[in-house]
């Protein structure tokens, strides 16, 4: 009997455990999973809540995603040729990639930043820097196209860029690799004291046009990242530095010897006034400034030969150094503008400087010597606090709207949430894997939007189906509206996103253009109707004024082209209907295709190599008769006397 009782007891206990386990599992895989899924699910045909702009890194471009779905909406070509639509190949856009080094077909894009008004992101433009051949681009958020690229002279490694001040007065471009200033032939090991790290301030006017206002001649450290002051600290800009050792080789060791490097605090308002009053010194420079002119739909490229250099030591109170431990990487300013966070990447701590303490320390001259004549403030004088043992290898910090900060840790591969002011760690979530930047919409403005955060991870490994040794990077979306961060979604990203920026969709989506107006098309070679189509020979150059409309080219038969000619196809899309592009491709072209939006004119060149009859066609499935949207070009041997003749539907014109 006793045995039986025991047996029953054991059985009952087993039943309890089994049912408990079932309940636990049921809740986890059921309710939890579905709530994350529901949060990122955007029904077919519905729109995302945010636009997110992710730098393409070594793709040179900028990709546009929708959040929270993580769906990629567009890749905007910026610093790299883009055969998909002809950017950087077409006659209209190839000069966008012109630099003082000639045409540079590739770039390394890093830090997108949306224009601001009163410290809030306003959605007019987005800026992005190119690290390799220093340049800053401005992209319109009406057309989602690159409108302007300015080269930064005397800079190398344009990394602490392209951050904007709180009314978009300036976009800044720092120098990561210190270099001779100006460049000259000299022994590398004489770097120390001879190299410089100029910081360039580019003024932005009301139409977004950029002009270099001045360059601050800074000691030859590596200016890594930067952010503007805001609120009380508006008028200042903060830059992290590393390699204050000024080592020129084996920098992974030699640039990591100093216990502290600096955050440079630059009072740009003071320098701006100094320059306005005639301060500074003109120095030689060579840089190219490219503007896409919407009227003529063509790039206007100008080479400039001088820049205004400012020695900060000539302006009392213009620049100070704040010692910051362990080769700081990210330099982030909280929404109030009071706290400047140095993410000491070789440390487990974060150093937070106080702006008001910095001003007091300057007033009281609490200096700890100087570096090349620039006052170094006492470490303790500006220190607001330290976030202790938060993780390993802090890189970047962003902020929400509830007084919290979120810092990425590359080495310990996690995002850590902490309280601004008390410096206590509140939460940590792993990132998969080794997160670089993170991004909160408006997280570097006066008004962050604390709903979502994305981490931009550097290592992907096993997160998706394997695709060979080379993988796309990965981003992770977190819900940060609660006390704890909740991982919602993984999504692959293109190139190597460094920084990103996001904005509420309703701030820009109504401004997004649907077509280009044909009656505003002042392209030199546009044919605005089929009656204006023609062929014009100028020596061995043949200009074809061509049009597209569903579903034919005009003309679609062309004769009188010879081997040795250079043919310019100027193709105008006559459509004025949303989302009816036409493409143009011709056999053996050594360039790319064209993708022409309604109302646009684009030009591609073709140098026929062999006599024959060669086809061209529309590459965009434009309509039911898209397959029929094709034509022929007769190419005659060099020296043959085939006359020029063009037409459509057997109605020819010739000359």
């Amino acid at each position: 009997m006793k045995k039986i009782t025991n047996f029953i007891a054991v059985f009952a206990l087993a039943a309890i455990f089994t049912s408990c386990n079932q309940n636990d599992e049921g809740e986890k895989s059921g309710a939890m999973a579905s709530s994350a899924a529901e949060k990122v699910y955007v029904s077919p045909g519905e729109h995302d809540e945010y636009y997110a702009f992710l730098s393409g890194g070594y793709s040179g471009n900028l990709t546009v995603y929708g959040l929270p779905s993580g769906r990629m909406l567009k890749e905007i070509p910026v610093f790299s040729q883009f055969p998909t639509n002809g950017y950087g190949y077409s006659e209209e856009t190839k000069d966008m990639l012109k630099t003082s080094f000639g045409m540079v077909p590739w770039g390394d894009s890093h830090h997108p930043d949306i224009s601001q008004t009163n410290g809030e992101i306003d959605g007019r433009w987005i800026f992005i820097n190119e690290n390799n051949t220093p340049r800053i681009a401005r992209i319109s958020l009406e057309t989602f196209e690159t409108e302007e690229i300015i080269e930064i002279p005397h800079s190398a490694g344009n990394h602490s860029s392209s951050y904007v001040t709180e009314n978009t007065e300036y976009v800044v471009a720092g120098t990561r690799f210190s270099v001779p200033y100006p460049q000259r032939d000299m022994p590398i090991d004489e770097m120390k004291g001879n190299f410089k790290g100029p910081l360039t301030f580019i003024a932005v006017d009301d139409d977004g046009h950029m002009e270099i206002d001045f360059q601050v001649d800074m000691p030859g450290f590596n200016y890594d990242l930067s952010h503007p002051g805001r609120g009380e600290s508006h008028g200042w800009f903060f830059f992290t530095t590393y390699n204050t050792e000024e080592s020129h080789t084996m920098q992974e060791v030699n640039a990591s010897q100093n216990d502290k490097d600096f955050i440079a605090a630059v009072n740009w308002k003071k320098i701006s006034e100094y320059v306005e009053n005639g301060g500074g010194e003109i120095m030689d420079a060579e840089y190219v400034h490219n503007v896409f002119d919407h009227d003529t739909q063509t790039t206007i490229s100008t080479t400039k030969n001088e820049v205004l250099k400012v020695d900060p030591r000539d302006i009392p109170g213009a620049v100070f150094f704040m010692p910051t431990p362990k080769s700081p990487h990210g330099c982030d300013v909280d929404p109030s503008g009071e706290y400047i966070i140095g993410n000491g990447k070789l440390s487990s701590d974060l150093t937070v400087h106080s702006f008001s303490k910095m001003l007091d320390a300057i007033d009281n001259e609490e200096f700890d010597g100087d570096a090349y004549g620039i006052p170094v403030l006492k470490f303790e004088s500006t220190l607001a606090g330290t976030v202790k043992d938060a993780g390993l290898g802090p890189l970047h910090t962003e902020f929400d709207d509830k007084g919290n900060a979120y810092t990425t840790f590359f080495i310990s591969s996690e995002v850590v949430k902490w309280k601004v002011g008390s410096w206590e760690v509140l939460d940590r979530q792993p990132s998969y894997y080794s997160v670089g930047h993170l991004m909160i919409s408006g997280g570097n403005s006066r008004k962050p939007d604390g709903k979502y955060m994305i981490s931009l991870n550097k290592i992907t490994k096993d997160r998706y189906l394997p695709t060979g040794p080379e993988l796309e990077h990965s981003a992770q979306l977190f819900d940060i509206s609660g006390d704890k961060m909740e991982l919602l979604l993984d999504f692959p990203t293109h190139g190597e996103p460094h920084y990103a920026a996001a904005i509420k969709a309703d701030k820009i989506k109504e401004n997004s253009k649907k077509i280009y107006r044909l009656d505003e098309n002042n392209h030199k070679y546009a044919a605005l109707n089929e009656g204006e189509t023609k062929m014009v020979r100028e020596g061995n150059e043949v200009h074809v004024y061509m049009t597209t409309v569903r579903s034919h080219f005009a003309p679609d038969n062309l004769e009188g082209i010879h081997v040795g000619d250079k043919v310019y196809f100027h193709v105008t899309n006559l459509e004025q209907d949303f989302d009816v592009p036409h493409g143009f491709a011709v056999i053996g072209a050594n360039t790319s295709e064209l993708l022409i939006m309604p109302g646009q004119t684009k030009t591609i060149t073709w140098e026929p190599k062999k006599p024959g009859v060669w086809p061209f066609y529309c590459t965009d499935f434009c309509s039911a008769l898209h397959q029929e949207m094709q034509g022929y070009i007769r190419v005659s041997a060099e020296g043959a006397n085939t006359p020029m003749k063009w037409g459509l539907d057997d109605e020819y014109t010739s000359n």
């Binding site: 077509i515 409309v549 569903r550 004025q576 209907d577 949303f578 309509s623 039911a624 008769l625």
Partner: protein
């Protein structure tokens, strides 16, 4: 008495709304046109709802060989309709004013209403004829030629009134503000006649 005359004047005046508001509207939606293209039909011509709608409707219609949407100069109706509407409004007002001073019999009110009704029906008949011609008189070299099960060419005529599917498009054809003002105006004139007639009876 005065009240009915005022109604008659007001009713005729409402016709003038047709000079400012469209009489009719045809919208064309399709899977590719979630935001439908539309044309507003005024008594003096046809306009796109959005700036490029007419151009885009013509562009789509060329596949089935339809003629382009006519310009005002291409249809006599767009010259005559404004005169007819203007004339009827003026006539209605004159009748109303004479009625106000009791110079005419109430039957004039009814007479105006019947004339307007006949003209309106003629206008609708003419409009329907134009739609029929537009939907059936197609370019013999049309790119897409479809036939019904009996082998006759498909009729692409949009409905005079209502919603109808035509290939991938759904056409919606309905009156707009101008027409509604006209309907209200005509009802007012009929009411004016009714009130006056009843008033005369009680006097007798």
């Amino acid at each position: 008495m005065k009240r009915s005359a005022i109604l008659m004047i007001l009713g005729s005046l409402l016709l003038l709304g047709l000079f400012y508001f469209p009489l009719w509207n045809i919208q064309l939606g399709a899977p590719q046109y979630p935001d439908p293209m539309g044309m507003n039909i005024f008594i003096s011509g046809i306009e796109g709802e959005e700036e490029f709608d007419i151009q885009n409707i013509d562009g789509v219609n060329h596949y089935i060989g339809m003629k382009k949407i006519p310009t005002p100069a291409e249809m006599w109706e767009f010259q005559v309709f404004p005169i007819v509407i203007g004339g009827m409004a003026a006539l209605g007002m004159v009748i109303g004013v004479l009625g106000f001073f009791r110079k005419i019999h109430p039957s004039w009110f009814l007479g105006w209403f019947i004339l307007m009704l006949v003209l309106g029906l003629l206008g609708m008949y003419d409009f329907n004829n134009w739609l029929l011609d537009y939907g059936t008189d197609l370019d013999p070299k049309a790119i897409i030629k479809l036939t019904d099960p009996e082998g006759n060419p498909i009729n692409y005529k949009p409905p005079l009134f209502g919603t109808q599917k035509i290939l991938n498009f759904t056409a919606h054809s309905y009156p707009r503000t101008g027409a509604y003002l006209m309907f209200v105006g005509m009802t007012l004139t009929l009411g004016a006649w009714w009130i006056r007639k009843k008033a005369l009876k009680t006097i007798k």
